[in-house]
């Protein structure tokens, strides 16, 4: 029998309270979004879909959603290709060079996001990428790459390079050996890198506040502006959809990891 000392009970109780505290903010949003009240009230006095109607019936929100989807899908795909290539290169490089380059490539995670945003604004203002889709995509490629690199590097460290050597000694050239032998084995890390990059791009707000504009307004930028002005339950409906979307992506990913 495990003995339950008072320290242990206190520890478990504390953890339980902390877990509730972590979950509550996420769990209250969905009920609020189905509220029939004009203002935020909890518990809602009645139920309705009016906030979803007001969200989905508003062309401005739909347009912003489209921009966000295009930006996050394309930037995640590009970041995954560039990031996987870079991780593979880092893994092959001499230790000293790899160390220095890795710090450089992980800079986007380290530099405070406001500084990054201001810097990108400066560059874009000069090369005409402000308020454009390619500009938004490129910025999110940079912000997403570190996640891909980190994830793929972890995968490559677990992978036995001798396997690729064997494939090459049997006559495959390097690219074929990579795609036929290495990639399938590190696939879970590549996929989690892709998912991370996708969610980071979908959630990215600060850079978008600075560089998105006009027709190319992202969902998060529009949401931020709306939150600064007034908080009506339309945002609750949007939040619920966003949360559902990231959980869906996560569920797909965990299925993908289990299939191995």
């Amino acid at each position: 029998m495990r003995n339950l000392s008072s320290t242990r009970i206190a520890l478990y109780a504390f953890t339980a309270i902390a877990m509730i505290w972590l979950m509550v903010p996420i769990l209250i949003i969905a009920p609020m979004s189905f509220s029939s009240a004009r203002f935020l009230q909890f518990p809602p006095p009645g139920w309705s879909l009016r906030w979803y109607q007001s969200l989905l019936g508003d062309p401005a929100w739909i347009a912003a959603g489209r921009v966000s989807l295009i930006v996050s899908v394309s930037s995640a795909l590009i970041a995954t290709v560039l990031g996987t290539a870079a991780a593979y290169g880092l893994n092959m490089a001499r230790a000293r060079l790899a160390g220095a380059l890795q710090v450089l490539l992980l800079l986007p995670l380290v530099v405070p996001i406001v500084i990054t945003a201001v810097g990108i604004f400066l560059i874009y203002a000069n090369i005409g990428l402000l308020a454009t889709l390619p500009g938004l995509i490129l910025a999110n490629v940079m912000l997403g790459m570190p996640y891909v690199i980190t994830s793929v590097l972890v995968g490559l460290r677990k992978f036995d390079p001798a396997q690729e050597m064997v494939a090459r000694s049997l006559g495959m050239n390097r690219p074929r050996a990579f795609f036929a032998v290495t990639l399938p084995q590190i696939r879970p890390s590549v996929v989690s890198g892709l998912v991370f990059a996708f969610i980071s791009a979908l959630d990215e707000t600060v850079v978008a506040i600075f560089i998105a504009g006009g027709e190319n307004q992202t969902l998060t930028k529009k949401m931020f502006t709306a939150l600064r002005d007034e908080i009506d339950p339309t945002i609750a409906a949007l939040s619920t959809l966003l949360t559902a979307a990231s959980f869906l992506v996560l569920a797909i990913m965990s299925l993908n990891l289990r299939k191995r």
Binding site: S5, T7, L11, F14, T15, A18, M19, W21, P25, I26, I28, I29, F42, L82, A85, Y88, G89, L90, M92, L97, L101, Q102, L104, L105, L106, P108, V110, V111, P112, I113, V114, I115, T116, V118, G119, I120, F121, I123, L138, A139, M142, M145, T150, V154, R157, R174, T205, V206, F210, T220, F224, L227, I235, A236, S239, L242, T243, S246, F247, L250
Partner: protein, 287 residues
Amino acid sequence: MSDSPEVLHERREQRLVLALLAPALAVVALLMIAPLLWLAWQSIRDADGFTLAHYGRFLTDGIYLTAFLQTFRIAFIVTAAALLIGYPIAYVAAHATRGWQMLILATVLLPFWTSVLVRAYAWLILLQRRGIVNSMLIKAGIIEQPLALVNNEFGTIMATIHILLPFMVLPLFAAMQKIPPELKMAGSSLGGQPGFVFRHVYLPLSVPGIVAGSVLVFVLTLGFYITPELLGGGRAFMVSMLVARNIEIYHEWGAASSISIVLLVCVFLIFKLASRLIPFDRIMGVR
């Protein structure tokens, strides 16, 4: 004179390495390195050429110092609170059965996957004057007047801890999982009381996790923008807001640049100091 096949092979390998890294490096060079150099350059220039006036304002303009002090204070509070909350969670998770471990980690990770904006919004709903927390406290008869829980430093700190807690728990959990359970048993079999064993065996072994988690949380808080902007109500004025205001409202590029550079130097120094204790790539979770 021709080189040996090994040398040629080695050279080809290194060229391939560079070719694979080139696109990623180009993106970082264009959007990260170039802007930082540009900001550094702008921070020492004005219409008449070289100047240190932008940095001089740190000494003369009170708001600079106030913003930096407040930001560091908030980062310190958030880090300490995240460590106090995160350590027990990571400890319980590291010693729980597999099912409980999954559940605890899922509760830590689910918020992590939820948009920062969504969570800021949720905290607004919870903490505002007529929000859920206040109305529950009033109904329970604990308070009569609603408390000011949001649009101040308290609201900012609460939401920031909530957003950054996973960055504390995950490194702690990783470090604790590497601690062999036999060590604790060995400690107690030699007569150590549980508290003693914890302080002298377990705690020191979890230090890499403490350092990694604390550095991440501290540095991320230093650069936080969304949360103080939405939940601070102007009363949690942080460095990132000072940068944003200087650009959006005053178009003061020199000022924004000098503030950015000072913040960046602070961040690099913190990483530099921490990497004396544990290597950089371990802080970032690459190893």
